[in-house]
């Protein structure tokens, strides 16, 4: 089970591939909304996938501060660390 930040980032990237246009390489700085075109509905569905992958619950409130891949990975890491 992924627990450190790098493992989380790697697994998160697997989930993000479905949104990634061929010309974009996903990096920690990739913008979820502007570069991967993940709108609010897609983000909510993505969160459910992430919750199952990492066996966590991500409060919707926490997503307000998430803009980049790094910020999402960091949020997951924080929730996992608090368990």
């Amino acid at each position: 089970m992924a627990s450190n930040y790098d493992d989380i980032l790697q697994k998160l990237n697997e989930h993000l591939k479905q949104f990634c246009p061929p010309e974009i390489e996903i990096t920690p700085d990739t913008d979820l909304i502007n570069q991967l075109a993940i709108d609010s509905v897609k983000l909510l569905n993505l969160v459910m996938e992430i919750e199952d992958e990492f066996d966590i619950s991500v409060p919707l409130n926490a997503l307000a501060d998430v803009q980049t891949v790094h910020e999402l990975a960091n949020l997951i890491h924080q929730i996992k660390s608090a368990q």
Partner: protein, 396 residues
């Protein structure tokens, strides 16, 4: 980016999607003739998108009660329930709802939207957790946001998914609020209430059921899904609206928890708004009486709903998972949905249109709301019109 740029972006998106001159949202209705007939543009149309499930908007008893209330109490209360806006009628309606549900308490709100906003934000707060179905109405999402509680979604109508998320909460599940709806407004499907109740009992959580679309529609006396399933005593809080089966505007929350009454002192959407007008309260009281006695209305409603659902299914339309007074035809693209919506209007039928992101799973919906007031001839006409449009729009 300036303050108003985001509104320009919305205007551009609207222009790209909707043909010029087609007012699919906020369609101007020029005259209303009855609970099922109106004038749009220069055309007489049949209402098939009004949530007027029992057809009570022109019931003589409701009209008479509203007229009397206006004459005796005036046009409005001009004040909050917490100040000068609690008339004898408001309190009587609360007693009648509490008695209807055999509950300790009821609070009446100015709109159904505010009923959810006020109840949810009054019950939960910072540090609490609310678990909501992914297809919840916007009033539920907004109530959760206003509460400041943590919000966790579970997959639509998936009780196992809810249980998984409760399990992850550990001891916090004991202070969690679960929110589901009797009938969901998009696809017309029901929550699996027995399973949800089993889970909430196992995890010692609190359950709120929104009966907005099921009040008057389900159960012998029209209480909703709680009555149909016999689970009234297992649900902690029930919210609902006057703006569907009761043919009016307003909302309510009933509960056997005596703490419900304390919401009057902490719930901002209850405190900081004017109370329902005397006419609204009086006609809702008359409508509630008709709803409770409306066994024949419900029989007619379900006969109409099942007939139309079967007809549209037979024609090959993709529909919601079960027959219901909400019959949603599911289209792959907004363009298909707009074409069907326009075609129906040109044939004299008004329905609701739902486009992404309002509709689930990126689909578009043409949503029919069947009424007990529709005649069997009107249901046949609706079916035949869908048949014609199936050929002209989808089979070129």
């Amino acid at each position: 980016m300036s303050l108003l740029d985001k509104l320009d972006a919305i205007a551009a998106a609207r222009k790209a999607l909707l043909p010029e001159g087609v007012e699919v949202f906020g369609t101007p209705i020029e005259e209303v003739y009855s609970s099922t007939a109106a004038k749009i543009g220069d055309r007489r149309v049949l209402f098939l998108g009004t949530n007027n499930y029992l057809g009570l908007t022109f019931a003589p008893q409701c009209l008479e009660a509203a007229h009397k209330a206006i004459d005796s109490e005036g046009t409005g209360t001009t004040g909050s329930r917490m100040a000068n806006g609690s008339y004898s009628g408001h309190r009587a309606l609360e007693r009648e709802f509490a008695e209807f549900y055999r509950c300790h308490s009821c609070i009446v709100f100015t709109t159904g939207y505010q009923a959810n906003l006020a109840t949810i934000s009054g019950l939960a707060g910072t540090g609490d957790v609310i678990l909501i179905d992914g297809d919840s109405h916007a009033s539920i999402y907004d109530g959760c946001r206003l509460s400041g509680a943590e919000i966790i979604r579970f997959r639509h109508n998936d009780a196992q998914d809810l249980e998984k998320r409760l399990r992850r909460l550990g001891d916090r599940s004991r202070s969690a609020l679960i929110i589901v709806e009797g009938i969901y407004s998009m696809l017309g499907d029901r929550t699996p209430l027995a399973e949800i109740v089993r889970i909430k009992t196992t995890y010692h959580s609190t359950l709120l059921l929104d009966e907005a679309h099921s009040l008057g529609v389900l159960g012998q006396t029209g209480q909703g899904l709680v009555e149909e399933t016999g689970l009234l005593d297992q649900v902690d809080f029930i919210t609902g609206t006057f703006s569907k089966s009761l043919g009016n505007i307003g909302g309510y929350c009933v509960s056997n928890h005596p703490q419900l009454d304390q919401l009057r002192y902490v719930s901002r959407p209850y405190i900081f708004t004017a109370s329902p007008t005397p006419a609204t309260i009086a006609s809702t009281r008359a409508a509630l009486k008709l709803l409770r006695e409306g066994v024949e209305l419900r029989r007619q409603l379900w006969s109409n709903a099942r007939t139309l659902y079967a007809r549209l299914k037979e024609l090959g339309y993709q529909l919601g998972p079960e027959p219901s007074p909400i019959i949603a035809t599911i289209l792959d693209t907004p363009q298909e949905a707009i074409a069907l919506w326009r075609g129906l209007l040109e044939h004299g039928i008004y329905v609701n249109l739902m486009l992404p992101p309002a509709a689930p799973e990126g689909k578009s919906l043409v949503r029919c709301s069947v009424s007990a007031a529709h005649s069997s001839e009107q249901i046949d006409f609706i079916g035949e019109t869908f048949a014609v449009l199936r050929k002209t729009i989808f089979q070129h």
